[in-house]
């Protein structure tokens, strides 16, 4: 007798796990940017492109998670 059943895709849980790392990473990047700008306001424009590059590189991991979730769900 089945008393409880779970169905659906494990991809949802997988993506949740995949998003932890990039979440922390993106947080660290903006935290450092805010901190450095607070310490040295005139450096804000100089560091901004690197903030976005770092953000984009870290965020890519979370986005791979989305893409692969769909790819492997259908396989």
């Amino acid at each position: 007798m089945i008393t409880a059943a779970v169905d659906g895709s494990l991809a949802a849980i997988g993506y949740g796990l995949a998003a932890i790392g990039p979440g922390i990473g993106v947080g660290l990047i903006f935290a450092s940017y805010i901190q450095s700008t607070a310490r040295q306001p005139e450096s804000s424009r100089m560091t901004l492109p690197y903030v976005w590059i770092g953000f984009a590189v870290v965020e890519a991991l979370a986005l791979f998670g989305i893409a692969f979730g769909f790819i492997w769900a259908s396989a």
Partner: protein, 264 residues
């Protein structure tokens, strides 16, 4: 059939699927297996036409005191040239500014279709378009690097970091993997996944509203909340649209910069 069309019918197939991204064909009308000319194709052509016509009109008769259109075109170009090309590449960035501006505006317009009411799908949510843009960037930064240093020196420069000899067996494969394989792949996937996820989110909240409206009496009022979320997410999408276009352009510029840099 598109998600929007199904939602107006009686029972809503709630969780939206990848199938929602494959829109019916325009020519021949309504054919599901023909993907030669769909809304996606049409939107890409509209973007290209808009860009060409806008810049032709804006720069037909350039004057010292610019007209509104000329001002808009000049500030778009000026933004990319000063804040992206010159900022990343220094003085040699001016040479790349026209391509980077075109890239930036092409991506931004293509992305913008994902929040224009009634159109609401971005061509960039199909990986073919970001993949090709990434391919152009990939070929460009390698070409520029090889042209400047020659193949051997370019490869040596990008693969061999200044490090003790005993870590090189590990570092060289990693450098190769990250520079020549991951870069184009992540450029393409980043833009694609952002647009894909954005469209998916809007679908979830729009269709979710309809699903709850028809579910039962208690859930029906909650559907309003779901549609409010749709509006809020549309504003978030606007941010993502501009950000991703900027990021794609900045990364292309930084890869070119990495390829032509004298030393590490």
């Amino acid at each position: 059939m598109t998600g929007e069309a199904i939602a107006l019918k009686s029972d809503v197939p709630f969780p939206p699927t990848v199938g929602d991204f494959y829109l019916p064909s325009i020519v021949p009308w309504g054919d599901h297996n023909s993907l030669w000319f769909t809304k996606i194709t049409a939107l890409v052509w509209v973007t290209v036409a808009l860009l060409i016509i806008f810049f032709m009109v804006a720069y037909r008769k350039p004057t010292l005191v610019p007209s509104k259109a000329q001002w808009l075109a000049e500030s778009a170009y000026g933004f990319v040239r000063d804040n992206i090309a010159v900022e990343m590449l220094g003085a040699r960035g001016v040479r790349f500014a026209p391509y980077l501006t075109t890239l930036f505006l092409f991506i931004i317009f293509n992305n913008l279709w994902s929040i224009v009411p009634l159109l609401q799908i971005s061509p960039n949510s199909h990986i073919a378009f970001p993949a090709f843009l990434a391919l152009i960037s990939y070929v460009m930064f390698n070409y520029v690097g090889i042209k400047k240093f020659g193949f051997g020196k370019y490869m040596r420069k990008s693969l061999i970091p200044p490090a003790p000899w005993f870590v090189l067996p590990i570092l060289i494969p990693i450098e190769f993997f990250s520079t020549f394989l991951v870069r184009p792949f992540s450029l393409a996937v980043r833009l694609f996944a952002n647009m894909f996820a954005g469209h998916m989110l809007l679908l979830v909240f729009t269709l979710g509203g309809f699903a709850m409206l028809q579910a039962n009496v208690f859930l029906a009022p909650v559907s309003v909340l779901s549609w409010v979320m749709t509006v809020a997410l549309t504003l978030l999408e606007l941010l993502v649209i501009v950000l991703q276009a900027y990021v794609f352009t900045v990364l292309t510029a930084s890869y070119v910069q990495g390829a032509v840099a004298e030393d590490h």
